[in-house]
């Protein structure tokens, strides 16, 4: 208690200017066009962490509360439980002001502090420090800088660094998701292709059409999207630069033009065409424009996904009577079946290390997201809802984003690869589906 009273003046000293800034921030933040994330399930013992509001000495309030961005990122991972600001006893922003007892008293295990300053070029620089409260030592610190519109991105960079320091796994907070939104209840009804930050903010429209849009796929440098659009009343594959908006239509053929998937080196596109009679996998060399047929079977072959080394393509085929996931070796054309459990396994993709196969699997007439350990061959279900589809794995393999239905509406949701953490991302208009998680942005 003595300690507390002694600290009080300090608390006041730091908090007074900051608190005013935060109230301003709250009113400034934009919620309307973004996705909102609701955590539905977390790990049993999330690590308690405190992210102290970052100091800012400018005259005008910042457009974003950077510490809040970090706080929300860590909380959303399900692995951390962040301390409410109202419970904090002090708001330090430099090492000398950190009194470990304050944080020990609040049962916090880790502490993040930081500050935001303006750079020479008119952008922002964010400095952060991470402390281990128990051992009373700093364990990581760094600074990130960016343009004047990059505050949220800088916050995500801090989250990535903190996450990596504490879990040993590269963070995937500074990434994006592409998804399809549709509203048929409005007139005229529409389909949209959107790109948002991984936390649902900064949603940006890439394409709007009155005909279906499907199957967005990221280029390896996260600068372009390949997708299928029915805007001509026929399916065609387009490649669009998400910054310039410039787009190119891939030469289309009679019948299906679908399921584009970028190769790991970014030079090729796997796709599905039915020009030769029924759905088959092809590989298009984006430089030479050469098209190579990969599969040859009168059954359906679709949903190609590349192996990590780019030497194999996984695909869904019903050549065995029921849809199952197969793998073809590109050099030899050798086809091998990968899934044996259940009578409907489709849309497989691999985690970054190639260890796990993430897929849609039907059990008791319900479609779930499942993961198969390719070393041990065992499959486990990650979701319990009934119409789950379009799983897409984060570049660090920690989470899977997918679409599901709640109250008859398609929404996005995410689940950790071990099934322990889950959250829903409801849209505020229409339905959203077919999420695609971007690779790392740099």
């Amino acid at each position: 208690m003595v300690q507390l009273t002694l600290r009080l003046p300090k608390l006041k000293f730091f908090s007074a200017p900051l608190i005013t800034i935060f109230t301003l921030l709250l009113s400034a933040s934009v919620w309307s066009s973004n996705l909102v994330i609701e955590i539905t399930q977390g790990v049993d013992n999330p690590v308690p962490i405190a992210v102290v509001p970052f100091a800012w000495s400018g005259d005008v309030a910042l457009s974003e509360d950077v510490a809040q961005v970090v706080d929300a990122d860590l909380e959303r991972s399900g692995q951390f439980k962040s301390l409410k600001r109202s419970l904090m006893l002090s708001f330090p922003y430099k090492k000398e002001d950190v009194y470990y007892r304050d944080w020990l008293y609040l049962a916090t295990e880790y502490l993040v502090i930081g500050k935001v300053v303006v750079t020479d070029t008119g952008g922002y620089q964010v400095d952060y420090q991470l402390f281990d409260v128990q051992r009373q030592e700093a364990i990581a610190s760094s600074s990130f800088s960016g343009g004047k519109d990059d505050l949220r991105a800088l916050g995500h960079s801090v989250s990535d660094a903190v996450y990596e320091a504490l879990t040993g796994l590269r963070g995937a907070f500074r990434t994006r998701i592409a998804y399809v939104a549709a509203d048929k209840k409005v007139n005229p009804s529409y389909y949209k292709l959107l790109v948002a930050d991984a936390d649902g903010y900064n949603a940006k429209e890439i394409l709007k059409s009155n005909q279906p849009i499907m199957s967005p796929s990221w280029s390896r440098d996260a600068s372009k999207l390949a997708y299928v659009s029915f805007e001509t009343n026929r399916p065609a594959i387009y490649v669009q630069d998400i910054i310039t908006g410039q787009r190119e239509r891939i030469k289309s053929f009679k019948g299906i033009n679908g399921a584009p998937a970028w190769s790991p080196d970014g030079s090729k596109l796997a796709l599905v065409l039915s020009k030769d009679g029924n759905a088959e996998i092809y590989v298009l060399d984006l430089i030479s424009k050469r098209l190579t047929r990969v599969t040859k079977h009168y059954g359906i072959d679709t949903e190609p996904a590349w192996s990590v080394d780019g030497k194999h393509i996984l695909f869904t085929s019903d050549r065995g009577g029921k849809p199952q996931i197969y793998q073809v070796t590109l050099d030899s054309g050798w086809v091998e079946r990968l899934t044996f459990e259940g009578d409907y396994n489709a849309r497989g993709s691999l985690t970054h290390d190639g260890r796990f196969l993430v897929l849609v699997s039907r059990h008791d007439s319900q479609f779930h997201i499942a993961v198969q350990d390719l070393q041990r061959g065992t499959m486990s279900l990650l979701t319990q809802t009934s119409l789950d589809e379009s799983p897409s794995v984060a570049p660090n393999g920690s989470m899977v984003i997918y679409s599901t239905q709640v109250g008859g509406r398609d929404i996005l949701a995410a689940v950790s690869i071990d099934g322990k953490v889950k959250f829903n991302i409801p849209a505020n208009e229409g339905v959203v589906r077919e999420p695609a998680w971007s690779p790392y942005l740099n």
């Binding site: 209840k185 499907m214 199957s215 039915s274 759905a279 359906i300 869904t316 589809e389």
Partner: protein, 209 residues
């Protein structure tokens, strides 16, 4: 419900075209018939569910145009040759084709054409093989269960099954195009087996009669 709407629209269109064909031979009249048909079709469609709206308009317009064209051809022929019998016969055959079922339904995960749809398909086959300029698009659809790209392929398999049936009946492959929309364009947004069975379908769309 979709079928009901469509047949209503078709009925209206036929009426309009019939009036157009009887009353005049001029191009202006045809144009009026075309717009009138489109308007009436649009009005009819406005009453229908929003789901049907888009498709109905597209189809009604396409049909109205095609029919106006056919009517125009027929009328011109009548004026030049004074052989009205041919035109009447043509019109009769077209009416017969329009009266046939335009939607073929399928069982879950199946692309087998059920016996009950064979009569309709035989009729379409006969019309298409006797009218070499006629063209159809077979739109394949699936219900929402299963993955989207797989359903695109499944929709196409259904379209191909209908196409193969027509070709076997003597229709030229060039007269048919198969386009699959997978689960992207359901006619019924419901989530029960009745709704699903309405969505597992192939729609036969004439782009030229």
């Amino acid at each position: 419900m979709q079928v009901g709407n469509l047949s209503k629209i078709i009925a209206i269109s036929i009426l309009v075209v019939f009036i157009g064909a009887c009353s005049s031979t001029g191009e202006t009249a045809d144009a009026t018939a075309s717009t009138q048909a489109a308007q009436m079709a649009a009005e009819a469609a406005a009453l229908a569910e929003t789901q049907a709206l888009e498709e109905a308009q597209v189809q009604a317009q396409a049909q109205a145009q095609a029919q106006a064209q056919a009517a125009s051809d027929a009328a011109q022929k009548a004026a030049n040759d004074a052989a009205t019998a041919d035109a009447a016969q043509q019109q009769q055959a077209q009416d017969a084709a329009q009266a046939l079922a335009h939607v073929i339904y399928f069982d879950f995960d199946q692309s087998t054409i059920k016996a009950e749809f064979r009569t309709a398909l035989n009729g379409h086959a006969a019309y298409l093989s006797q009218n070499p300029s006629a063209r159809v698009v077979l739109e394949g659809h699936a219900d929402e269960r299963g993955t989207r790209e797989y359903n695109i392929a499944l929709g196409e398999r259904r379209g191909n099954a209908v196409s193969r049936y027509l070709v076997v009946q003597g229709v030229s492959v060039d007269a048919i195009e198969v386009v699959s929309f997978g689960e992207e364009r359901p006619v019924n947004a419901g989530q029960d087996s009745a709704s699903w069975s309405e969505n597992r379908r192939v729609e036969i769309r004439y782009i030229n009669y």
